[in-house]
Amino acid sequence: MDDYKFLFKVVLVGNAGVGKTCLVRRFTQGLFPPGQGATIGVDFMIKTVEVGNEKVKLQIWDTAGQERFRSITQSYYRSAHALILVYDISCQPTFDCLTDWLREIEEYASCKVLRVLVGNKIDREDREIPTHVGEEFAERHNMYYLETSAKQSDNVERLFMQIAEDLMKQARSRDLPRYNSNHQNINGTTTPISDSSCCSGKFINAIVIFGKPTACIHCS
């Protein structure tokens, strides 16, 4: 039952009511529950998918968009492998808040977290944010961009599968240097381990590999 090769944490964030829970439900259960109430705190779902014959377990954290749950949701950013930032294409304010969300991500998440921008609700007729505006924003901030409809199940599967594939690629390429770096230092002096100060601010997660100047756990 629990035979998976990779486990990734995916965290969804974004304003209240943009459809985070619906996206997760659609992907994990194939449902579109209408009249979904606001999420309290964080919800937690698991789905195992297959990528190239490998089982990948996705742990999906669906966070509450409301301000008063911020202190709960923020604590999940740090351990996330991927962050999905969601807005509602028919609601300008949810798009305007993206920069605030990005600031939060910068502050709390690891620097190498995979970031995906999602414009949800493309089934709606009353679009306010054109596709190219979302695309440009994503490009400017180094994110993937995808437009989805949880209601009509457009791109939802693709969104999560893409994330699973990318994270797997990342994990594979990260594995290699880790195992090759055990060569020993013969000359008998202390090798200082330099900070590669890629991790912003106060959350430096270091793994130290002897003789190898490296190491942020997310970047190595």
């Binding site: 742990q59 008063r68 709960i72 008998g188 002096t189 130290v208």
Partner: protein, 752 residues
Amino acid sequence: MDSNISKYADMQKAIQMELEKLETEEATLIEGLNNMLNQKVFLEDKVKGLSKLIPSLKVIKNEAQDLVNTVNDISDSSEKISSKIRSLDKARSRVDECQLRVSDLIDLEICSQGVQAAILDSDYEKGAAHVHRFLSMDQSLLKRTANDMDNVSNMLKSVRTLQDAASQLRAIVEHKFNEAVTTEDLLSIERFFKIFPLLGMHEEGIKEFCTYLRSKVCLVADKNLKSAINTPVSDKRYSVIYADTLTLLFEGLARVLDKHQPLIETYYGPGRLLSAISILQKECDVQTKRVLLEWARSRQIHKKVQQINELSRMSSSSSFSKMEKIDPKDLDILIGEITLMHYRTELYIKFIQRKVTSDADVGIPNQDERTKVVQSLEKLIKNSELSQCKHELLSHYLRLEQYYMEESVAKAVAMDTLEPGQQTSSMVDDTFFIIRKCIRRSISTGSLDGICVIINNACRVLESDFGEILRQRLRQGYPSGYLDLTQAYNVLHTSIQQGRLQSGDTEQSRTAFVVALNNADSSTDYIDALCEYVMKEIGQSVPNLNANEKGKLESCLSGLSSVTTNLKDLIEYGTQQLRSTAIKPRINPWVDAFLNANHHLTEDELSAYEAGESFVQTLIMNLETLLSSFKDILSSSNYDLFTQVLTAEVTNRFEKVIKKCTFNRLGGLVLDKEVRSLAGYMTANTSWSVRDKFARLTQMATVLNLEQVAEIHDYWGSHDGALTWRLTPSELRSVLSLRTDFKVEDIRRLKL
């Protein structure tokens, strides 16, 4: 003639044959006649018997005819009877209906007469009972009766009277109830409360009654809040006075519910608790909000949270520490109060859920409707101010707790001290004490989300604030110091001459390094214990987690194990530091001394060598000194790691050195002895099994200790005495060639 004769002969023959034929025919006929004759008597008897039967057959035929007639008659008459019964039945049901109508009419009459009298007598129970009787009549039947009757006006009058009386009564009861409420007349309140359902005013009754209860709750809550506000600071409950007030409110509400639920159930029937609770919940919302407002004002919660937010923003930018910091200790009590408030709120919500669900289970048999009730309860709770307040409390708690944890750990790290004789410094004990305390406190909020967040924060603090310090210390390295006494003496000498003595500094950074290594090791134990503790504690305090909630918790706890992984990497890194600065530089010259020894010994030299201080004795003595200098200061598992690394280094170096020497027979013998005693020493003095690490070395010594090249076959091959070789055939050949007395051709000829 002849022809005639033959003709006659033929004719005679034919006649003869004809005659014979006739004779046989005759015989047959006679036999037949005889038979007939024989049967004649028998047949005559039969005919006689039959003719006797004829008259009785005639009788039977007549009787059968009679029977058929009779059966026909019976069927006809039964047909007649059943139709009569049917019409009788119909008649009876009509009579029943008629009776009912009549009794309804009579009751109607009685009720219409009685109700007015009852109202006049202020006997509202009786009046309501009349109305109840009226309401329980089949209204459509009543209408039909009216159509059938001649005297319509009379009856319609009664109906109208009763309808009037009903509305009159409703108004009166409502009015009287309100009057009773204003005059606080408990008896009347209860009296009229019981009348409402008789008048078909279930919802109104519950609404009026609960509104009354609401006002009572409000009064008490008012009083409690006032006394909370006026509580002097010196009061010993002062620090939790608002939690107490909130508790009183919830307890009061729970008591009201418990007390009045049976009343509602008896007079209104089960399944109506949700309506009652939804009214009381409004008061609960109002009062909770008031208490929390007062609490926030009195404890200056918003100011504190804001200050903390600013502090954390400042600390991420460079201009730090200009702001006045809040001492985490000062928050201790406040955090305690919040957890208590949150927990009580959680308990009250659970109480309501339990009450309504069990009431619905009893009172609503329909599954769908029951689900509907449960759903509207969830909605009621979710949208209530109470839930909002609960979320706000949790949010405050998390902010404060996070700050408390960060600041306290920072303090613990800053005040780190090493007691003499201890392997770890105070920061480990202190940090884990703090983290355990915070997690325990989060568990006491009763909120799984809260617990998860604090665990997440603990992981972050352990990895960055705490682990980072350890990493920095290990990164300083272990100062190798002086390799031997002469060097040390020289340095010491010059230092004294120049008036400075650094050995203290070196000693200090060595200690710092070793302590950091031990701290990392002991932290991994602490984390294991912490995980176990959390699981146990949650099992007790927040039981009945569903699979999803368990998954959530486990996922957060797995963050702690990744902290352990990082610490293990850190320890590995530290051990490698020790290898390069504390082990290698010392061991190399000790092992290299082997190069200076004579490996081409004569018998005499051998005994002299054995009498004196041999190479291996010196080596063991040196190793002993090195090991003992670390044995007490390193934690036991770190010491294990240390000996592993040490053994690997010694064996590696020894191998290299051996390859640089040449041996004669006795030289090989001595080497074999020395390797054995070295392996013996290491095995005896370390808990780590080092035999494996010595395997290659021992095998080299064995090879060098052979009498003749060909003896190798005793050890090589697939027979019983053979060894599992760690040396490759080519390595083995090159080791053999170190023996000067072995011929190159012999070695080359070996089939390996």
